[in-house]
C-alpha cells in the first residue's frame, strides 16, 4: 500500500518543531509500524534528508522504548500492543497517518519522536525498591509462602514496561498509572510492607515534583496501556497514601 505520513520533526529540546509530510510506497501489510518507519528512513537518507529519530529496541513489546503517538493514540489504533507490535495491516492503502512524540511537560522532546522519560527513573529512585543489599545468606526463598492470588496480582502490576503511554494519553499528563503499578506490586507482597508508608509518600511526592498532572479518573490510561495495567492500582495507591498520611 501507499501512505502519506505526517511526522513531527524537531531538531532538539530547544528548537520548535513542525510536521513534515512524506510519501511511502509499496508497504506490505505484514510489516510492523517501525519497519515502515525504517523504510521511510532509508528512503530519506538516499534523498539526502536526515532520518526520523525515534526510540526503539527490543521490537517485541517489552522494553518500553518505542513511544509514538499515532493518529491521536498512544501506540496507534490496535489495543494491547506497543508501536513495534502494531502491524501495517491495521491501515489501508491511501491512508494519511500522523505520527507525534509523547506530549507531556515531564517528557521533554529530545529529537523528533524521541522524548526524555528520566522522570520515571527518578520516581523509582524515590522509593520504587525494597531495601535489601546483595547477600549470600538471606532467608530461603520459600521461607515465606505468598498466597497465589496476591503473587499473581503483584505480578500483573509489575508487568508495566514504563513506556509512558498512560501519561501521553491522559489529558492532564498524569503518571498515576505508572506510579501506582509499582506501589501496588510491593503493597501486595509481604517483603514490601516495612517501607510501605515512606515508599508511597516519596514516590507521589517525586511524581508531583516532576510536573505530572493530576488524575481525574477518566480511565483513558488503562485503555491505552499496552500491558493492560488496571486502574484498580490507582485505587490501591490512594488507599496506601491515605494509610501513610494517617501514620505520619
Amino acid at each position: 500500500m501507499n501512505l502519506t505520513l505526517k511526522v513531527w520533526r524537531q531538531k532538539n529540546a530547544k528548537e520548535t518543531g513542525s510536521f513534515a509530510t512524506y510519501q511511502v510506497r509499496d508497504i506490505s501489510p505484514d510489516m510492523s509500524f517501525l519497519e515502515m518507519m525504517d523504510v521511510l528512513n532509508e528512503q530519506l537518507i538516499s534523498q539526502g534528508t536526515e532520518s526520523v529519530v525515534f526510540d526503539h529496541d527490543c521490537r517485541e513489546g517489552i522494553c518500553g522504548m518505542c513511544s509514538m503517538f499515532i493518529n491521536g493514540e498512544a501506540h496507534g489504533p490496535d489495543r494491547g500492543v506497543t508501536t513495534c507490535q502494531l502491524h501495517m495491516r491495521k491501515f489501508k492503502d491511501g491512508d494519511t497517518i500522523t505520527v507525534e512524540p509523547w506530549r507531556a511537560k515531564a517528557f521533554p522532546v529530545v529529537r523528533d519522536l524521541m522524548v526524555d522519560r528520566s522522570s520515571f527513573d527518578r520516581i523509582i529512585q524515590a522509593g520504587g525498591f525494597i531495601s535489601v543489599n546483595t547477600m549470600g545468606n538471606l532467608p530461603d526463598a520459600n521461607a515465606t509462602p505468598i498466597e497465589k492470588h496476591d503473587a499473581d496480582a503483584a505480578f500483573d502490576a509489575a508487568t508495566c514496561i514504563g513506556c509512558g503511554a498512560c501519561v501521553a494519553t491522559c489529558k492532564n499528563a498524569s503518571a498515576m498509572l505508572f506510579v501506582s503499578a509499582k506501589v501496588s506490586q510491593f503493597a501486595l507482597l509481604p517483603q514490601g510492607q516495612v517501607e510501605a508508608a515512606d515508599r508511597v509518600r516519596n514516590m507521589v511526592n517525586q511524581m508531583d515534583l516532576e510536573g505530572f498532572g493530576n488524575c481525574t479518573n477518566t480511565g483513558a490510561c488503562e485503555v491505552e496501556c499496552p500491558k493492560g495495567i488496571s486502574i484498580e492500582n490507582i485505587a490501591r495507591m490512594n488507599r496506601e497514601y491515605l494509610k501513610a498520611s494517617l501514620i505520619s
Binding site: 531538531k11 532538539n12 506490505s28 505484514d30 510489516m31 519497519e35 525504517d38 532509508e42 537518507i45 538516499s46 534528508t49 536526515e50 532520518s51 526510540d55 526503539h56 529496541d57 527490543c58 521490537r59 517485541e60 517489552i62 522494553c63 518500553g64 522504548m65 507490535q85 502491524h87 495491516r89 529530545v110 529529537r111 524521541m114 522519560r117 520515571f120 527513573d121 523509582i124 529512585q125 520504587g128 525498591f129 525494597i130 531495601s131 535489601v132 543489599n133 546483595t134 547477600m135 549470600g136 538471606l138 532467608p139 530461603d140 526463598a141 520459600n142 509462602p145 505468598i146 497465589k148 503473587a151 503483584a154 505480578f155 509489575a158 508487568t159 514496561i161 514504563g162 506490586q185 514490601g192
Partner: protein, 669 residues
C-alpha cells in the same frame, strides 16, 4: 596452554574451590573502597546487579547504557525462566546435577571450575530476587513454582509467566536506582562506550559518546567492567534487540582483551520465520512449545512445492504424507532434542527442498494432536463419552490456550494466522552467543583491571547454552562473583588515588574516536548503513550459521573483507557529530560487526570438529550427526588482535581439563 593465558583456577576439589578462593581474596576496607572508582558498561542483568552490589559495598560506581533508561537493557526480553539448583520439587536436583547438565549441554567445551561455581551460587540468586520483590510464579500453597526447560530431566526453572527477564531486570534495576538515589552510583543513560582506555597496561577508563549531545566524554576509574551483552546482531536478523552490539567488547579486544570462541553461537529452533526483505528482527517462540507441538514437513517434494505455491494446505496432508523428522531421526527424544540438534534438522529438511513457506525456510509446529489428546482427556473427565470431534477439539483448544495463550496471540499478531486451526510455521534464528571476551576464574580479561560479565564473556556455556541459564549466569556474575573477585585486582589500588582524565592515554583514545566518527560523516558514499548491515548478516548467516564448511568459511572471509572495504568507501551518514545522530552510532557499531564477522569465520575454520552450535560439514557421522574431536580440540580458542587486522588474529589455546565429568558423545537417538 598458551603462556599468555592464566585461567587462575584455584587449587583443590571442584566443590571447594569457590569457598576457599573467596576466603583468600584480599579484602578492601570500607574506607578504602570509597577511594576506588569502578565503571560498569551495561545495565542488563549482569551490569545492573554488579553496579548495585559494588555500590552497596562502598565503591564509587559509574554505570552506562545506551538506552534511555537502565531498565530497558535487552535482558528485559527474556521469556522462559532462570535455573537454580534449589531442588524444591524434590526430583533429585542438586548443585552437582546442574553442574553436570551445563557441562554436558555445552558439549564439553567449558571450564569445570567456573560452571561449578555457577551452580553453587544459583540458589542464592533466587533468595536474593525474592527478597527484592520479584514476583515469581507460585503454586496454590504459596510456594515457588518450577518448570522443566530445555530437555533436562528435572524441574529447576523459576519463572514469571513469559516475562522472567523483565521481572529479574526490574529487580536489579530497582536495586541500582536505590544506589543512584544514595549517590553511590552515577548513572549515564544514553551514553555509548566507544573505546577502552588502557594506562600502563591496566584498564583505567572509557571514552563514551553522549548520545544526546554527541560530545565525547572521558571517564576514568580503577577498574572497568564490561557487561554489554551478546553479539548476535552480527547476523543482522536475530532475536536480539535492535541496539545490541559488540562495540564495547570489540574495542576492548582491540586494546588487548582476547576474544574467546567467537564461532560458538546459538541458533534457536523455534522462531517466527523471515517474511520479507524489510524485516528488521526475528521473534522467538518459547522453547516450551516443543513440549506439545510436533514438528514436520511434507514427505514429498511435490507436496512441499504445492504448499509453497499456495495450491495445498497443511491440513490437506494425511499422516502418511507428513514427515515428523525429529521423531523419525531421534526416537528417544523426539521433538525435545536440544536446540542445536533441532535447528540443524530443520535446516537439513529445508535445504533439501521441503520448506513450507514462500521463502522455503519454514517447518510446521503442529498442535492438532495435542489439542485432540487434551480434548479427549477433558471429555473423559467430564464423562462425555459420546463427545463429537468438534467438541473434543473445543475442549482441547481451551487447554492449549491456557498453557500457551500469550504465545499463540503473539504469533497471530505478527503473522495474521490462527495457530489453533493451522500449524505454526517456524524456523531457527540466531539467539545467543556463547563466545565473548576471554576471562579467567575471577572474570578478568587479559587486560588487567578489565572484567567482563554476562553474555559479553565466554565463560560458562561452552559450545551450546542450556535454556534458562543465561539469566542465571548474568546474575551470578553481578551479584555473587564480581563483588568478591574485583578485590583480587583492586586491593593494589587503595593508595593510587583518582585516575586523571588528563593522561595522554585518554587524549589519544578520545581523538582516535573522534577521527573515526568524523570519518563516517565525511565519507562521500551513497549507501545507508543499514544496507551494509543486512549484507553482512546474509554472509554470516549463509556461511557461519547452522552448518559451516572450509569452502564456505573461506568464501565468507573474502566477502567480509570486500564488504568492509566497500563500507568505508561508500557508506553514507548524514547529520553532524554534536547532536543526537542514531545513524552515526549505527555506523560505528556496524563497522565493528564487519571486523568481528571475519574473526568468527577464522575461529570456525580453525575448529576442525563439530561441537554444540558449531557444526562443520566435514566432521559428521554417516547419519549426519556431529563429530566432536576431544583429543585435538578440547580447548578454548582465545584470539589476540594482531597487526591491526582481524584477519591476522593470533590463536591462543586454553586446554580444558575434565577432572569430575567424563567426556562422552551426546546421543539423543
Amino acid at each position: 596452554m598458551s603462556t599468555k593465558l592464566n585461567s587462575r583456577i584455584p587449587e583443590g576439589p571442584v566443590a571447594e574451590k569457590w569457598t576457599k578462593h573467596k576466603g583468600t581474596i584480599p579484602l578492601v576496607s570500607p574506607a578504602n573502597k570509597r577511594r576506588i572508582d569502578v565503571i560498569v558498561v551495561g545495565t542488563g542483568l549482569a551490569g545492573s546487579s554488579a553496579a548495585a552490589s559494588l555500590a552497596e559495598l562502598g565503591y564509587n560506581v559509574k554505570a552506562f547504557c545506551f538506552q534511555d533508561s537502565p531498565r530497558r537493557a535487552h535482558s528485559i526480553a527474556a521469556q522462559g525462566g532462570i535455573n537454580a539448583a534449589k531442588n524444591y520439587q524434590n526430583d533429585g536436583d542438586s548443585v552437582f546435577r546442574l553442574f553436570y547438565d551445563t557441562i554436558k549441554g555445552g558439549d564439553y567445551r567449558s571450564r569445570e571450575a567456573n560452571v561449578h561455581r555457577l551452580a553453587e551460587v544459583s540458589t542464592s540468586i533466587i533468595d536474593q530476587c525474592v527478597a527484592q520483590g520479584v514476583p515469581f510464579a507460585r503454586d496454590y500453597g504459596g510456594l515457588l513454582d518450577n518448570r522443566s526447560f530445555g530437555g533436562v530431566q528435572v524441574s529447576r526453572t523459576f519463572y514469571a509467566k513469559g516475562q522472567t527477564g523483565q521481572q529479574l531486570l526490574l529487580g536489579a534495576y530497582s536495586a541500582l536506582e536505590r544506589q543512584v538515589a544514595k549517590g553511590r552510583v552515577k548513572m549515564y543513560a544514553r551514553h555509548e562506550m566507544v573505546d577502552l582506555v588502557v594506562v600502563k597496561g591496566k584498564a583505567r577508563g572509557i571514552i563514551a559518546r553522549n548520545l544526546v549531545t554527541g560530545e565525547l566524554e572521558r571517564h576514568s576509574a580503577h577498574a572497568v567492567i564490561v557487561a554489554s551483552g551478546g553479539y548476535g546482531n552480527v547476523f543482522y536478523l536475530s532475536t536480539n534487540a535492535m541496539g545490541s552490539n559488540v562495540t564495547a567488547a570489540w574495542k576492548a579486544h582491540k586494546k588487548g582483551a582476547f576474544f574467546a570462541n567467537p564461532c560458538f553461537t546459538q541458533i534457536h529452533p523455534t522462531c517466527i520465520p523471515v517474511n520479507g526483505e524489510t524485516q528488521s528482527k526475528l521473534t522467538l517462540m518459547s522453547e516450551s512449545l516443543r513440549n506439545d507441538g510436533r514438528i514436520w514437513v511434507p514427505a514429498s517434494l511435490e507436496d512441499a512445492k504445492a504448499i509453497r505455491e499456495g495450491r495445498l494446505k497443511a491440513i490437506d496432508l494425511s499422516e502418511e504424507q507428513r514427515d515428523y523428522y525429529l521423531e523419525r531421526r531421534y526416537p528417544a527424544f523426539g521433538n525435545l532434542v536440544p536446540r542445536d540438534v533441532a535447528s540443524r534438522a530443520a535446516k537439513e529438511r529445508c535445504d533439501a527442498g521441503y520448506g513450507v513457506n514462500k521463502t522455503g525456510e519454514a517447518v510446521y509446529l503442529d498442535f492438532a494432536a495435542a489439542i485432540v489428546r487434551y480434548g479427549q482427556e477433558q471429555a473423559n473427565l467430564k464423562g462425555m463419552h459420546q463427545a463429537t470431534e468438534s467438541e473434543i477439539v473445543a475442549l482441547g483448544t481451551k487447554v492449549v490456550a491456557s498453557k500457551y495463550g500469550n504465545l499463540f496471540q503473539m504469533y497471530e499478531k505478527i503473522t495474521d494466522e490462527n495457530p489453533y486451526t493451522a500449524p505454526m510455521k517456524i524456523y531457527p534464528a540466531v539467539h545467543y552467543t556463547m563466545g565473548g571476551l576471554w576471562v579467567d576464574y575471577n572474570l578478568m580479561s587479559t587486560v588487567p583491571g578489565l572484567f567482563v560479565a554476562g553474555e559479553a564473556n565466554f565463560s560458562d556455556h561452552g559450545a551450546n547454552r542450556l535454556g534458562a541459564s543465561a539469566l542465571m549466569q548474568g546474575l551470578a556474575d553481578g551479584y555473587f562473583v564480581l563483588p568478591y573477585t574485583v578485590g583480587t585486582f583492586l586491593a593494589d589500588d587503595i593508595s593510587t588515588g583518582p585516575i586523571s582524565t588528563d593522561l595522554p592515554e585518554f587524549a589519544e583514545a578520545e581523538s582516535a574516536s573522534r577521527a573515526r566518527l568524523e570519518g563516517f560523516l565525511n565519507s562521500k558514499g551513497s549507501v545507508p548503513v543499514e544496507v551494509f548491515h543486512r549484507r553482512l548478516g546474509r554472509i554470516v548467516w549463509d556461511n557461519i550459521g547452522m552448518a559451516r564448511s572450509e569452502m564456505g568459511l573461506k568464501k565468507a572471509i573474502a566477502a567480509i573483507r570486500a564488504l568492509r572495504e566497500e563500507f568505508y568507501r561508500d557508506v553514507k551518514v548524514l547529520g553532524g557529530m554534536y547532536e543526537m545522530n542514531p545513524e552515526l552510532d549505527k555506523a560505528n557499531r556496524v563497522a565493528d560487526f564487519l571486523e568481528l564477522g571475519e574473526l568468527m569465520a577464522l575461529d570456525a575454520l580453525a575448529r576442525e570438529e563439530s561441537c554444540g552450535g558449531h557444526f562443520r560439514d566435514e566432521h559428521q557421522s554417516e547419519e549426519g550427526e556431529a563429530l566432536r574431536r576431544d583429543e585435538e580440540f578440547a580447548f578454548v580458542s582465545a584470539w589476540e588482535f594482531t597487526d591491526g587486522d582481524p584477519g591476522k588474529a593470533t590463536l591462543h589455546k586454553e586446554e580444558l581439563v575434565f577432572e569430575n565429568i567424563k567426556l562422552v558423545t551426546r546421543s539423543y537417538k
